[in-house]
Structures are given as C-alpha cells and as structure tokens.
Amino acid sequence: MTEIVKKSTIEKEENAVETKTAVTNRAMVRPAKKRRNQLPLAFVVLLGVIFMAYYLAGKSAGLAISWLFGICFGVVLQKSRFCFTAAFRDPILTGSTSLTKAVIIAVAVATVGFGAVQYAAVSKGGAIAGSISPVGWHVAIGAVMFGIGMVIAGGCASGTLMRVGEGFVMQWLTLVFFVAGTVLGVRHWGFWERLFFDGASRVHLPSVLGWPLAITLQLAVLGILYIVADKWGNRNKG
C-alpha cells in the first residue's frame, strides 16, 4: 500500500521535472532576434540629461532639481514596474496584491515624510506645506471616473508617462488625450470650483486631531489595509 503511494509520488515528481524541462527547452530552441547594442544610445541620452540639467540650472535651481528628480522617478517606476493602476485592478482581476501592498507602503512612507515637512513648517510659524484639497462627494465621484479611465487607458498619469518613454505607441495616444483633458479641465476650472470646491471644507487632520493622533491614525488605517491586502493575496493562492 505504502509502496504504491510512494511510487505514484515519485512518478508525479518525475512528471513535474519533465514538464518543467519541456517548457525550458522550448524557450531555448527559438533563436532570439538580433539585438542592437543600446549602450551608445544610453550614453547619448545620459549626456543629454546632464546637459539639460545644466541648462535648467542656469534658469533656476528648482527647475534643474525637478528635472533630475523626474528622471530618477521615471527610472524607478520603469524598473520596479510600480503601477498605481495595477495596485487597484489586480486584486480583482488576478487576486494579486503585491502592488497594492507596495502602494500602501509608499503612502505610509510619504505620511511620515510629509508629516515631518509640514510639522517643521508649522512649528516655525509658516503655512502648512503641500496642497490641502477640499473634501466632499466630488472626490469619490472623480476617483471612480479616474479609476475607470486608467484601467481602460492602461495606466495612471505617471504610468502613462513612463510607458510613453518606454516606447509603447498606444500610450502615446493616451498621452494626447490626457493632455487634452487636462487643458480642458484647467480652462473650466472656475466652473468646477463654484460647483464643488467652494462649498466643501478643507480638512487638515493634524490641525483637527493634533499631530501624534493624526499620524498614528493614518498609519493604523494603512496597517489595517496592508493586512487585508495580504490576506486577500494569500486567499486566492489556489
């Protein structure tokens, strides 16, 4: 009895090894297309980036810093395949929550960072740094619309820009309409402001709850979301 069981497990293992090599061999059989060496191009682009930074620094230091931060941000975004769209889409589509957890961690890090910047600014008697937007139902409505749009377009704002740079042509089209929509939005800003923003209140949690409670509360909510995301990811693991 035990011998049969043993035999079947061995056979199973052998099969598993076989199928594994079958796929591996397939991948090796087809020769890869001849690739161009991209290093010279990379060198030219790097020189261009440095030259542009130098040129911008002549106009204003802030511009040059923004330029370099933008480039670095793009590189990290591309290499890590970090994607806000996937963070909200994949849990439902594939049951994968790895990017969702990455976004939650990013927000948690940003909470601490922005908290420190704002606290420093306020304790010096300055205004609260960063943009504090009016809260209301319009946020939820806009978020749902943006969510539908970004899943269809295949990327959020940063994701679209990153893939435009990657050379994915369909997203160049996305960029055209992304810019068109933004221009329209800015042009009609006054209308939206009167309709939604003037009536809504701007809430800055630390001013209402105090700094320790506000930061703790936000981190606690993010922690709970992380645990939920982790559970969701493991639950779907066949």
Binding site: K20, R30, A32, K33, R89, S98, G154, G155, E166, V169
Partner: protein
C-alpha cells in the same frame, strides 16, 4: 502537446492577461501557450497569474521590448 500562439503585440495591460486567461481555459493539460507581448506591465502580471494557477512559465526577451511568455498548462 499542441502549441498555440497568442498575439498580444500592441495590447496594453490588462488585455494580454484577459486574453491569456480565456485561452488557457480552452487548452488541454500539457499544451503550451506562447503569449507575445510588448507591454512591460503584462510581463509582470501574466507570469504572476500563471504561476499562481500552478502552470510552468518561462519568459524570453526576443527583441527590444518584445517578449514571449511560454506557459505550459499543468492542470
């Protein structure tokens, strides 16, 4: 041990994944599906989904920004 190709060139995320999921449902165990993609995001979520389902997956970059994802249906 049939072999199928799925052309997802020019398709943005999540279309390659949805097409793969549909195609995999039609395949017999042991069949191989080769998904051709050129969207970097599909490079992450197609193999991730397939591995989670328990299939064997190999990825090969066949050109600049063009990948073949080999998926063997395991169950």
């Amino acid at each position: 041990m049939a072999e199928y190709r799925l052309d997802c060139l020019g398709e943005a995320c999540p279309v390659p994944l949805l097409k793969t999921q549909k195609k995999m449902a039609e395949l017999q165990v042991g069949d191989i599906l080769i998904v051709e993609v050129d969207h970097s995001c599909a490079m992450k979520n197609v193999p991730e989904w397939a591995r989670k389902e328990g299939h064997n997956v190999e990825i090969e970059e066949i050109g600049e920004g063009e990948w073949d994802i080999y998926i063997e249906k395991a169950k």
